[in-house]
Amino acid sequence: MKAIKAFFAFVYDFIVGDDWRLALAVVLGLALTWVLNSAGYPMWWVLPIVSFGALAWSLRRALQSHKRP
């Protein structure tokens, strides 16, 4: 049981990593792209904007926490 828990903790750390917000942004970006396309609006640029926006935000948060004493 302990080994299974440790394995799932590893998988979470491996996929989600240091910032869970990046994973959430990707899921939302994909869902939005799919929903818009289903409604007749094929927008390829939604996922790149959401992904790089989330990465920029995540990097900014890292910089702010570095500046904090």
Binding site: I15, G17, A23, V26, V27, P42, A62
Partner: protein, 251 residues
Amino acid sequence: MNGSGWGLVIATFLASAVETVEAFTIVLAVGITRGWKSALLGVGAALALLVALVVLIGPGLLAIPINTLRLVVGGLLLIFGLQWLRKAILRASGLKAIHDEVAIFAREAADLREHGPVVPGAFDAYGFSLAFKGVFLEGFEVIFIVLTFGAIHQSVALAAVGALLAVIAVIVIGFIVRAPLSRVPENLLKFIVGIVATTFGIFWGVEGAGVDWPGNDLAIVGILAFTLLFSLAAVAYLKAKVEAHSAVVSA
């Protein structure tokens, strides 16, 4: 082999090299401090389990409809790529410590020595479990890369060739130098793999959601170029901010 095939082999080679270097450091520490018998048994057991996982999961992945596969694998690859890219950007800009194999080796070896003496010739469960865990967890990451890239290209075998070449290269170099592979530019490799994984993650994710890219496959070049420029700009910006902050603090 076409350009896409070469790209597949190179991507899996680079990603696998990073993980194999990390696994090699752990096995080397176990082998030197606790004995090679238990270390190599741990490596063998982990490899057997990894091969079993590939055999179980691989064919199932190829049976999934390509658009569903692109959506799920593209999403996973994008999350994975963004995490690696974030880590590599933070390391390159000085916001996060560079991965130091020599320091990791010294820490692992000290921990292992503290765990009590090893009876010569006897099976050492602690050394075995550490080697097993190190190889299995790092190897799992290699499998993830091989299966995701391979399944989308409909060629797990070609992706496995890249990974296998990386494992062989690291082991051969490791046995020649007999020391942690500290000269491998791990952060640079992580940076490249992060860019490649992010690029293909975005490309396949959008295609999996049912949207066609303008220019079809040529869009990959555009996404790759943008990801590279974004990353280099982020490193330059963060580096300047860190240096300015250090100057203020030390003044």
